[in-house]
Every structure is written in structure tokens, then in C-alpha cells.
Symmetry: none
Subunit: 219 residues, 4 copies
Amino acid sequence: MGTKSKDGVRRRMPREVRERQMLDAAVVGFARHGYQAASMDEIAEQAGVSKPLVYLYLKSKEDLFTACLRRERAALVEAVRGGTQERQVSAEQQLWKGLCAFFAHTAARPDGWAMLHRAATQGEPFADEVAGMRAEITELVRLLLSRAAEDAGCDSEFAEREVSGLAHAMVGAAESLAEWANAREGDAPSAKETAATLMNFCWTGLGRMTEGARWSPHR
Amino acid sequence: MGTKSKDGVRRRMPREVRERQMLDAAVVGFARHGYQAASMDEIAEQAGVSKPLVYLYLKSKEDLFTACLRRERAALVEAVRGGTQERQVSAEQQLWKGLCAFFAHTAARPDGWAMLHRAATQGEPFADEVAGMRAEITELVRLLLSRAAEDAGCDSEFAEREVSGLAHAMVGAAESLAEWANAREGDAPSAKETAATLMNFCWTGLGRMTEGARWSPHR
Amino acid sequence: MGTKSKDGVRRRMPREVRERQMLDAAVVGFARHGYQAASMDEIAEQAGVSKPLVYLYLKSKEDLFTACLRRERAALVEAVRGGTQERQVSAEQQLWKGLCAFFAHTAARPDGWAMLHRAATQGEPFADEVAGMRAEITELVRLLLSRAAEDAGCDSEFAEREVSGLAHAMVGAAESLAEWANAREGDAPSAKETAATLMNFCWTGLGRMTEGARWSPHR
Amino acid sequence: MGTKSKDGVRRRMPREVRERQMLDAAVVGFARHGYQAASMDEIAEQAGVSKPLVYLYLKSKEDLFTACLRRERAALVEAVRGGTQERQVSAEQQLWKGLCAFFAHTAARPDGWAMLHRAATQGEPFADEVAGMRAEITELVRLLLSRAAEDAGCDSEFAEREVSGLAHAMVGAAESLAEWANAREGDAPSAKETAATLMNFCWTGLGRMTEGARWSPHR
DNA sequence: GATGAATGAGTCTTCATTCAT
DNA sequence: TATGAATGAAGACTCATTCAT
């Protein structure tokens, strides 16, 4: 139980390393059980460390959770931003790259993503942190949609509020797809496949909207 | 504290009524704090009943949660089904009606919806129940999309798997929009507005897909 | 262990009674070990109750301590006041009665007194409560000394500050004597004996002071 | 953090010096928080040393406390003895000198005195040590009082037990006054003033007692 | 039908103390 | 000499749950 050297004694490790191990274990625990149900005992054991050490390094359960949150959030945002940063390409291409990066990341770090996703529905203490992340990503998407509209020569009628709603829908759809893709074992679709599904789903509609067309219930 | 008659004595009420009060209180508690953080004490007090009575009627916290889940699930599914049941109309119209019903319901019972939504990320004991509901709704959507494809004379190329993904994306988008709409205070959009946003977003793309067109990264 | 009925089952008791038992046990615990070292587990066991009940009724260790403090303080102050209340008699007689009452009380409730005494040197949270009690008693003594001076036709030279110091000395001496008397087992002096010791010690000096005489190091 | 030389490296210091630093820090800690609440972490940090070093030098918290106790006790007793040692002068003058020395010392080392004073109400482990000190000082006073009685030609009626009580009262009064004097900020009385207050208070009474007079409640 | 009284089991958190270097 | 790394043991506190009336 825990990281041991060859002669069965637990190794001393630099703080940095141990801290990473703890965060790793914590992410798994929080992802699987949620904030409340996750137990510090289990996390410590999973990290191969005694509980006091966890408290020495990470102060409290709340702080530990926040630290995990921040790390995973940073990793995710960076991944998504990475695909969106090239200024040369069109908004369409950027969105595509971003989606690919998103699905690749969520597939590569399923526990990290699960934790972030669950965190959205945990209690107040983390509302801000989580809302912040969601806002960050949604804003990213909103900007892209907005720019796509501009590229298409769309006038200001394509109001802020409408784009906002679309961005939220998009993010929700992406999250749901990520969950769905991760849930499959064996025949999980590739990140690109999933991203393509989403692009297929919405891009045309978005294009038509920029042209001023609106869907209406009457016919 | 609690429901009292004019002379200060707690009223004896038929089981049915008391049970509803408990479920109501529980839904609020679970919605606001999540399963783990919600406390039986608080729920009992909120329901105006002593704790032992809650246990007498609902057996355990887990059972109470499940009961809430089932009730809210049934209400939501029924609401959505209501808009989709008319066999005469087109799949498009049915989807539209269903979305309207969904957003209307989530707006009318925010706590119920919040609980269902949170439940999706609570621990294992309820995974089945919640997954069941999600599957039920997703299946509903999947059928509609499938039928829309058929209506459009689309052949079987529009494979099961692709539609499945779309249905998940759709449901995720709807959930996200519902959350977004509920979060707004004051200028919350109407159910129809929200539904229209979503239809705009996806319906055209869906149409094009049924025609065999696919979005592709290369141009 | 704990209060049991004849058939070995722990009895249900009205809250009031149980609360008193808890306070009794807590006073003993706090008196013997001090605030920090006293354990809630031990207190609960001593009271013949489970820990949660202690928390249900008394909220927290700090609150429990405060409750004990208040109860013992009230009892002590009332006891001392009782001997001092008769307005007819001289200050001298009142002081005498007060001292007798004080020593009688501290002898009758050694744990209560020990707790109060220890509390004076526990940490900040209780500083106010304890300081308040000390101030209350010291003020009582100060008034008596002041009045004794008046009775002796002493002018205002017998300044406030000087009386204040005397009152503190008096209280300190009394506390020390109480401790000393309680520590003896077997040949403990009676309350009256102890009170007489103190009166002997200080009353003449006090009298001379009111006449304007002062002790001085030079002869 | 800690004593560092100019180039930022912690200085190697002779054991003696380090040990003094630790005791100094410990006295402050124990004085402020009491034995239980004082933390070894804080003490080590305050001393500018790592915790293992504290354990290397002082073995355990209990030993550390005892060491502090002994040091402060020795310092206090020596200070008081210093004023009492001259055999030439009268018991009265010796008592006066002793009191002056006591109040001067407690004012000069408030933390040391606070620690000693608090120690009197800490748990069993130190009861002996503390009782020892109290006994030492009380005995000192008792001897003086006894000698004063002798000087006054008082016969053995002035029984041992009576003097014992008086000594305890005296010590208690002195402690209380020391506390009271230390608590004042700004207008704190000088050691001599405080000592004079106490002499005024008791010396006359003591004189009368040696003459056989006794205070009695009946007139 | 309804509840005040009561608890077993478990959680987070802290602290004095010791290795290994 | 001196310390960063690490932990066993214990304490405060809470919660779902049940008895006895």
C-alpha cells in the first residue's frame, strides 16, 4: 500500500512530487464520489500517504478540492485554447480545432473531466470557481460564434443574446457528448468523430441564422 | 413549526397528503444541497413533520431520494411526452412541441429539475435510476430524429450511431439551456423562445444531414 | 455505565434533567483537566449519555464550557451576595458574612470552584465571561471596603485606586485560602475558621488605613 | 524565518544558546496559550529552529514545559530570596524587600510569571513541580511571618496552622496584585507602590495578632 | 398517527513525535 | 549540527437511524 522502495520502506519524496500524487488521487476520488462523499481517508490511502501529510500540504478538504479544480480547469482550458489560438484561420476552423481538442482532452483525462463536470453541481463553496470555468469556456465559444457571424457579413441583428444562448447550447451539447463518448467502452468514437458529429449538428444551422433565416413553428 | 390547526395542535393528516409534503420538502433540499449534503433533519423540519415519521413513510434517505427522483422523472417525462404524443403531426412539429414542453416544465418546477439534473452526478446508488431517465428522454429524441430522417426519405446510411450522438447532443444542449434560462432572473426567456433557439441551432443542420451532406474539416 | 433502569435499559429522561447531568459531568471534567484537556467523550460517558446527545443539547464544547461557567458563576455570586444583602448591618459584618458564604460555597462545591478558578487561566474565548465574574466579585468587595471607609468617617483621600488594589488583594487572598482549605483532606478548617483568618489578616490594617496611617519602609 | 547569518544560511550555534532561545520561545507560548493549547510547531518557529531540534534538545513537550517551569521558578525564587537574605534586618524589612523584589520580577518578566501562574492550574503532570514552587515561596513567607511573631515576643499560641493560613493568604494576595498590576497598561503602579499596598493591608493586622488580639464576628 | 429521546458509526482535522538524510 | 518528510493516535463534531411512549 503506497509507494515503497525495494526494501519495503516508504520513500521520502520531494514535496512537489507528493503533492502531484495527492492531487491525482483526489481527482479520482472526487470524480467518482463527488465532493461530499469522497473521503480524505480514501484519498490519502490512494495517494500512498498518511492523512496528516495531505493536510500538511493541502490544508483542508475544501482547499484540496479547489486545487484539483484549478489544475483540471487550467489543463482543460489550455487544451481548448491551444486549438483556437491561431489567428490566421477562420472561426469555423478554430471551432473545429477547439472541439477536437476538447474531446481529445476529456477522453485522455476522463477522471479530470468527470470531476469538473460533477463540480458544477456541488455546493456553494465552489460555485464561483466552477461558474468561472464554465463562463470562460462559454465565452470562448461565444466569441467564435460571434466572429463566424461577422465573417459571414452578418449585421448586428444577430443579437448578443441570441449568440449567448447558442454558445450555452453548444457547450451543453459538447459536455453531453463527452460524457456519452467516455461512457462507451470498447467502441468509443474518436475525438474527431465526436467533434464532427457536433459540427454537423450545428454548423449549417448557424450559417443559415447568420443569413437572417429563423426557424419558426408555423411551417 | 409545522402545520398546526388553530388550537396549536399538529393536524392529523391522511398519509397521502403528508407524504406529498415530505417529497416536496425533500425535492427542495436535494435540489439545493445535493444528495449527500441534504439533511434529513432539515427535510423533516421543512415538511413540518418529525423525523421518525419521515422514516415511517419513506424508509430511508436513499428511498426518499429515489421516490423524489421517480416522481420528478415521471412528471418531466409525462410533460415532454404530452407534446410528442399526437401521431398526426410531423416529427419536426413533435420535436418542437416536446422542447416547448420541456422548457416550460423546467421553468415551472425549477427545484424538481435541479434535483434531476444534480442527480445525474450523484453517486452510484442512483446511477441506474438516473441513467434510466436520461435514456428515456434521449430515446424519445432519438426516435423523433430518426423519424424525421425517414420523413425526409433518408436511407439507412444515416446510421443508428450517428443519430444516437445527435440525440445526446440535443439533450445536453437542452439541459444546458434550461439551466441558463433558469439562472436568469428578471429577463428570463420564455419557454418558446428557448425552444426556438435550439430549433434554429440544429434543425437546418439536421435537415442537411438527412440529405447526405456532411461537414468536413477540409474546407 | 450511565443511568439505567432496573432491566438494564437506559432510561429516557426529560431534557431538563439530562442537561443538568451533563453540566455536572462537564464541571467535573473541566475542573480536573482544564478546558483543552477535558474530552467530550469522557464527559459524555461520565454523564451516562452518548456524545451526540451532548452536542444536541449543548451545541459545542465551547458552549458547554460557557454554560458550566455561567451556572457556577451564578451559584457562587448568589451565595456571596446572599450574605451581603442585608442593608442594616455594618460593612464589616457584611464582609464577614460574604467571606463565610464564599468559603462555605467553595467547600461545598469544590469542582465548581476549581473550574471557575482554572477558567481564569484558560484561553481567550472565555476571557470575557471569567473576567466578568472576577470583576463582579471584586466590585462587590470594593464596595464593601469603600463603605467601611465611609463608616469610619474617612475622607476621599482613601482614593479609588487604593481601594481597588485592596479589593484585588483580598479576592486573591480568599481564592488562595479556598484552594488551600480544599486541598486539605481530613483536617480541613471550617468556612468560618478560614474566614476568620482572613478577617484577622486584613481588617485591622484596613481600619488603620482609613485613619490615614500608612505603612512605610522607613521604620 | 529563524536566525540567519548574512549569507542566508542558518547559523550553527552552541547548544547552550539554542537551548535558551527555545526556552524563551516556549515560555512565551505556554504563557499565552497554556500547556495544552501551546503548539510545538509554533514554539519551534518562534525559536527559529526546526522541530526535530527542539526534540533533540528537550526530549518532549512535557520536558520542555518542565524545563521552562524550573528556569522561571528558579529566577523568581532567587529574585525574592535576594531581598530576604540579609540576616541583619528585621523580618518586616525582609518581607518588604521580598515583596518589592517579587513585584519587580513579575513586572520585568511578565511572560515568565504568567506561565508560572497558569501552570498552577494545568494538569497533573506538573502538579508536583508547581506545588513545589508554591510551597517554596509560601514557606519563605511563613518563616518571615513566624520570625516577625518571635521578634514581637509572641508565644507559641500563634500557632503553626494560623501562620500557615496567613502565608497562603499573603501569597494569594501578592499573585492577584501582580496580575492586576501587569494587566494595566500605561498607568501600571511601580513595584514599590504595589508592595506598599500589600504591606498596608496586612502588616498592622499581623502585628495585632502577635499581640494576641483576634477579630471576632461578635462586635 | 406521531414524536421526544437517544445513539453507532463515521468524518474532518490536529498534534506530538520520529525517520532518513 | 540540523532538517524536510512523514505518521499514529486521538479529538471535536455530524448524521442517518431507531426506541419507547
